[in-house]
C-alpha cells in the first residue's frame, strides 16, 4: 500500500494504492488524523488505485468523517472502483460519504 499526499490550492489530496486492510489501515489513519488535527478544510481521498478494503479501512474513513464534521470540514472520495463501491454500498456509507467520479468533480463538488 502506498500513500501520497498532495496539496491542491489548500485542498489536501490523499492518493492511496494497493490493499487497505488491518495491516495497512493504521498508516492511513495516522495520515488522515494528522491532517484533521491541522483542521484542513477539505480532504479528498483518491481510491482509483486501491485494490481492496476491509472493515478497518471503512472504520478509518468513518472516524475521519466524524473528525472533520467536528469543525465543519469536508471529506470527499473519488475514483472509487466498483469492487470498493460495493462495500461502501453494503455498509450504507454511500449515504453519508461525499463521493465523486473524478478529481475534477470532487474539486467542484
Amino acid at each position: 500500500m502506498e500513500i501520497k499526499i498532495q496539496d491542491h490550492e489548500g485542498v489536501k489530496i490523499i492518493a492511496l494504492s494497493g490493499d487497505i486492510d488491518m495491516y495497512t489501515s493504521p498508516e492511513v489513519r495516522k495520515q488522515l488524523l494528522r491532517l484533521i488535527g491541522q483542521r484542513v478544510p477539505i480532504i479528498m481521498v483518491d481510491l482509483t488505485n486501491v485494490t481492496y478494503i476491509d472493515s478497518s479501512a471503512i472504520a478509518t474513513f468513518v472516524e475521519g468523517l466524524k473528525g472533520m464534521m467536528s469543525y465543519s470540514g469536508r471529506l470527499k472520495f473519488f475514483g472509487i472502483p466498483m469492487k470498493l463501491m460495493e462495500i461502501f454500498n453494503f455498509s450504507k456509507l454511500d449515504k453519508v460519504f461525499d463521493m465523486y467520479g473524478s478529481m475534477e468533480d470532487a474539486l467542484e463538488g
Binding site: 486492510d21 488491518m22 495491516y23 472493515s55 468513518v62 453519508v96
Partner: protein, 140 residues
C-alpha cells in the same frame, strides 16, 4: 491447509489463497469476493481478539471447494471467542467498527464455532454453491 503467523501482514497471503482456491474451481466471482472478505475479517478477528495482537502465534486455514460448497475452516490456539457477544453494529448506525461480522455473515450460509474444541477456536465458514441443472462438472 495453510499456516500463517498471526501478523496482519500475512492477511494478504490468506486472501490470495482464498481467491485462488475459488478461481481454480471456477466459483462465481461474487462468491469469491465475498469469501475473500469473510476469511480476511475472520483472520483479523483471530489476530485482534484470540491472540490480542500478538504476532508470534499461528493461524491455520483450510480451504475446500466441492460442487456443493466453498468451505473454509480457520483455527487458532488463542483465547476462546465469546460467541454470544459477537454481533455487528446496526448498519444504519454509522460509526467506526462493527462491520466485519456483517461481511462474514453476508458471504456465508454457515458461520459456526466448534464448541467442542478445547483450546483455541475453530470457525467454519460455508457458502453453498448453486449447482446448475444438468451440469456434469466433475470438480473434486
Amino acid at each position: 491447509m495453510i499456516t500463517v503467523p498471526s501478523h496482519p501482514k500475512y492477511l494478504s497471503f490468506v486472501r490470495a489463497a482464498t481467491v485462488m482456491m475459488g478461481v481454480q474451481n471456477k466459483v462465481d466471482n461474487t462468491v469469491i469476493e465475498h469469501m475473500e472478505h469473510a476469511v480476511d475479517e475472520a483472520c483479523s478477528n483471530v489476530i485482534k481478539h484470540a491472540y490480542a495482537g500478538d504476532p508470534d502465534n499461528q493461524i491455520w486455514v483450510t480451504l475446500r471447494v466441492s460442487p456443493e460448497a466453498f468451505e473454509v475452516i480457520i483455527e487458532d490456539s488463542g483465547l476462546k471467542a465469546d460467541v454470544a457477544s459477537i454481533k455487528g453494529r446496526d448498519l444504519d448506525d454509522i460509526r467506526p467498527g462493527g462491520l466485519g461480522v456483517h461481511l462474514i455473515k453476508r458471504a456465508c450460509d454457515v458461520v459456526e464455532f466448534d464448541e467442542k474444541k478445547k483450546k483455541g477456536n475453530r470457525l467454519r465458514l460455508v457458502k453453498y454453491l448453486k449447482v446448475k441443472h444438468g451440469n456434469k462438472d466433475t470438480r473434486p
